[in-house]
Chain length 403, copies 2
């Protein structure tokens, strides 16, 4: 068991087995700094490494994780090994302590430059629920669903860090019984609790990435809230897919948990029937992240990511099977994580069955969809070594009235 | 009439009324240079401006148009006025001539960093044709088509400059009569001839861009070939839209024609019935670009962009109506341009009616879809002042066998 000389409570979600990376505004510096939360503190990486290892310091000297992401698996492993060494051997106290601050003294920013953003649709329970709601006269799963991980491109430019307000979007929507669409603020504003995968190593156009090679490219994992305006989405999405119902904002958690911290969270994914085509094999591991969705502080759902039908490896292999290249900073997300039970559904449209079965909040308020002023917070933990938990922090946002 | 002291043939597509911008590899320089084609030559902008106007030179000193795009309408106008002045007054010969090269001495690169890429579906004829082919049992236009410009996000990372080979993509496809999908090279590789709009001025998240303000944000126009694998697309696109059928490569022409060069190409767009919602008005002008599609040198189609149902202004207003922000370098494209006549269709799936009516090439060869080794070239011109034509150059690519 690796231990640290720092005062980290044993049940901290940011113990020495975690060491996720983010970028934060740091007092006294004009540009954001790459930082690692440890216990209730946060470590300025460039500050700590500058005098220790110039090569590694180079990876974290910029205002984001971009250089680190591009370094590839050897660079990722070297940096993590050095961090573990610094934090576990108290002879480095002199180097580390001046680079620490209490975590509440820094403000996270978007941790990396998002290149392309792809959102998948990998939860069978979610796809089934949404199919029943949106297409009640058809089979709930489309015929391709069990053959390939369905996905589409989202808007990279409106991905924002946790804490960013979500302005209620306006747009066109047409209730099924109306003759023509009208313009106005969305009245069915929703969330989607998702797991996001951050690509570090790029690939060459024309060369697919094999499913078995996913860890050569994927650096780590964060949480995603894919805010969704269901009324706008329902009217627009046939035949070219979701667009304005999603593109107004997508929020991400500030800390990217490296795959190296998730060895104890790897689990066998659900059995797949029919057996996928060769390029989607081996499936690779599922990830036992336990998500929690809070609405105004009240837990409304606990979606289990371990049950996702399609894995991170399969999503990446599918994304590139046509020769599409990867860039450093590509982000792909799982799609809404929903489990079998009602209290495991990762979106309000499922939790409230399209608003017909409102969620009750303490004090008697109910919600079909989000009201102005509502705050949604998604957090997650995963199994770590020796019974510890790996924390993902949270992605939060508050709904502001339409402008 | 503005004339130039340079030896430019009066019918050149790159006369002084055009002055489009690109980035090219320039002999003796390590990084690409921002350049303007004029007649059969090309002008190194930073080279010409460095001693004349340091502020303007700053806009074009980088390896791409990124700084120029970000400068906004005042910067765009100032640069264009200075260029017209330099090229029309032969007292500037001494400054200009050392910065010229024959155009065949330079190699264009991707002219700007693509932020987000959105592809619309704005040709009524194209949408009708594709609807008939893909959904023969439904009305050809979906119910939302005349109420909003349907669009979706494409992959920004696989946008490439004209001349880039297209490797035949592999993926899943399932013929309607097959029980299960198979993996393999696309056997229905197609093109889409489109007009693309390049965003310069960014906008703030939560603040829609009014249709009337489109010229404050859009810098210019280029040509797009949205290569499409119809068999992959047909199997994957329900319910979340096209993905791998498109994301392997999208080619663009090297020169961005500024809107200032297109005053004579602005035309009234087709009448819209039903009248669009307020946020989609005023419609703004259509653009009378005459496209030409050549397959292995043989003209197969001449799509007229003037007939597009939705305008550039409407597409931009729709794209941002939900508060989605614009970034410098955003690219949005019209979707396939098709006219009323068969020889005006901008894709092979329409020209050959899904392969059932092959196109005949000189020498007796026929094509339903693209064969390995085929070269597709899309070019366009638009009306300029005094009967001249504004040239867009071309976007070309050759099909290479699947790997």
């Amino acid at each position: 068991v690796t231990t640290t000389w720092l005062p980290v409570p044993p049940d901290s979600p940011f113990g020495i087995a975690n060491l996720p990376y983010g970028a934060v505004e740091w007092p006294g510096h004009q540009r954001p700094r790459v930082a690692v939360p440890i216990g209730d503190q946060v470590l300025d990486l460039a500050g700590a490494l500058e005098r220790i290892d110039g090569d590694l310091a180079f990876l974290v000297r910029g205002p984001s994780l971009d250089h680190l992401l591009a370094a590839g698996p050897d660079g990722w492993a070297a940096l993590r090994a050095t961090l573990v060494h610094l934090l576990s051997d108290d002879r480095h106290r002199e180097v580390v302590e001046p680079a620490l601050l209490p975590r509440d003294r820094v403000r996270p920013v978007l941790p990396f430059t998002v290149a392309d953003y792809v959102d998948f649709y990998s939860s069978e329970q979610h796809a089934t629920n949404v199919g029943r709601i949106f297409r009640p006269d058809s089979p709930p799963l489309p015929p391709n669903w069990k053959h390939l991980p369905i996905g589409y491109h989202g808007r990279a430019g409106t991905i924002a860090v946790s804490g960013t307000d979500v302005v209620r979007p306006c747009g066109q929507r047409k209730p099924p019984d109306a003759a023509t669409p009208t313009y106005g603020p969305s009245v069915r504003l929703d969330i989607e609790a998702e797991v996001g995968f951050v690509v570090g190593t790029p690939s060459v156009v024309g060369s697919p990435v094999a499913a078995a090679d996913w860890r050569q490219h994927v650096f780590g994992v964060l949480l995603v809230n894919d805010w969704s305006a269901r009324d706008i989405q329902a009217w627009e999405y046939v035949p070219l897919g979701p667009f304005l119902g999603k593109s107004f904002l997508t929020s991400v958690s500030p800390w990217v948990v490296p795959l190296a911290a998730l060895e104890d969270a790897f689990v066998d994914p659900p059995a797949q029937d029919p057996e996928p085509l060769d390029y989607l094999r081996p499936a690779g591991p599922g990830l036992a992240l336990d998500l929690e969705v809070r609405l105004n502080g009240h837990v409304v759902s606990r979606p289990p990511a371990a049950g996702l039908y399609w894995t991170a490896a399969q999503q990446l292999a599918h994304l590139t099977v046509n020769g599409a290249s990867l860039r450093t900073g590509d982000l792909y997300a799982s799609g809404t994580v929903s489990g079998d039970r009602r209290d495991q559904r990762g979106s309000l449209i499922e939790l409230t069955w399209n608003g017909t079965e409102p969620v009750e909040l303490p004090g008697g308020e109910t919600r079909g969809f989000l009201a102005d002023g509502d705050t949604v917070t998604i957090s997650a933990t995963a199994p770590g070594p020796d019974g510890t938990r790996i924390g993902f922090g949270e992605v939060t946002g508050t709904v502001r009235p339409a402008r």
